[in-house]
Symmetry: C2
Subunit: 198 residues, 2 copies
């Protein structure tokens, strides 16, 4: 019974993902998801309180993969600038994979930014990355890779902004350049701005 419930849960998630990818987030209704997954509305709401909850679970599962990659990058490298460059390469590969539809994330955030009741949950991963990179940049300052007068929070916001901007370009203009390459270059310019010139 437990196993069947988990299967239903995954099946609803998968159906919702297919519909979001094909028709967009807003254009997909709970009724559409139920029909596609072959479940009743009762079963749907047993698993997910809202359509937003589905989106957030999809987002968390994508980010879990990225987080695991970030952890390995930190362990496999000898200093913070190297770790950040390897993380950038990872993120660039995620952007070029077709599994995660960035346009859905963008559409969801545009919707969520109009709705205070879900906004704090929607923005949570983004704030989490800012904290993560502020801590990492502080480590970089401690190991003398970065200049000691740098404010790690300001630098983290700049780094996350650059990453977000690169993602946006990949969403909006995917054919124009090799994005994995672009991400590497962009982050490298930023790292050179943070580094000590000893």
């Amino acid at each position: 019974m437990q196993q069947r419930s988990e299967e239903t849960h995954s099946h609803i998630l998968e159906s919702a993902y297919q519909l979001f990818s094909r028709n967009g987030y807003e254009a997909t209704s709970v009724a559409d998801i139920c029909q596609s997954a072959g479940v009743s509305k009762g079963a749907f709401y047993h698993h997910f309180p809202t359509k937003h909850a589905i989106f957030l679970e999809l987002l968390e599962s994508w980010l879990a993969g990225l987080d695991a990659g970030f952890q390995s990058a930190r362990q496999e490298t000898h200093n913070v600038p190297q770790a950040i460059l390897q993380m950038a390469t990872l993120a660039g590969n995620v952007v070029q994979s077709t599994d995660v539809k960035l346009s859905i994330i963008l559409e969801f955030w545009t919707q969520a930014s109009r709705d205070p009741s879900i906004w704090n949950t929607a923005i949570a991963p983004y704030r989490r990355y800012q904290e993560y990179f502020a801590a990492l940049i502080q480590e970089g300052i401690d190991e003398s890779s970065f200049r000691k007068e740098i404010d790690p929070h300001a630098a983290a916001r700049a780094l996350v902004s650059l990453a977000v901007g690169l993602l946006m370009q990949a969403v909006f203009d995917p054919q124009s350049v090799n994005w994995a390459h672009e991400v590497h270059h962009g982050i490298e310019f930023m790292l050179q701005g943070l580094q000590s010139h000893a």
Copy 2:
């Protein structure tokens, strides 16, 4: 007669802007705009072939203000890094003004990215800024402000990405920080990465 036609044109634009700001781009129909502006559909289509055309005209008028500011910034400063920092300050002020609703731009682009027939027009200003900054960075290399091994196009894409990412943070998380300040800091880190350390 000519003057009255121009007044109608401006009036339709202004009504559309008010509706887009209040209800979003997608949720606003041509019928809504006609009703709010007090014009017939015939009059509307005399001035604008589509709703997209209205949006693009609004966008162009916002960008014209920014472009004029960029030109002054270039004339008033003595080198390219100073000019770019002053442009960043200008852009930060635009972000903090309430006149331009960035969330509308974002919604429009999300829509447009699904529609190849309008995409090339929608993305045009963005590509124009990349060309503009590539030329400016080349000037920076020529005046020895930036390292000569820098690829001006890669650096321009990184700079525009950073600007876009900072805009996104301002759209999504406007209360969290002082954005004018943030833009200045972020661009400064990037410029330090591009500069010669002579």
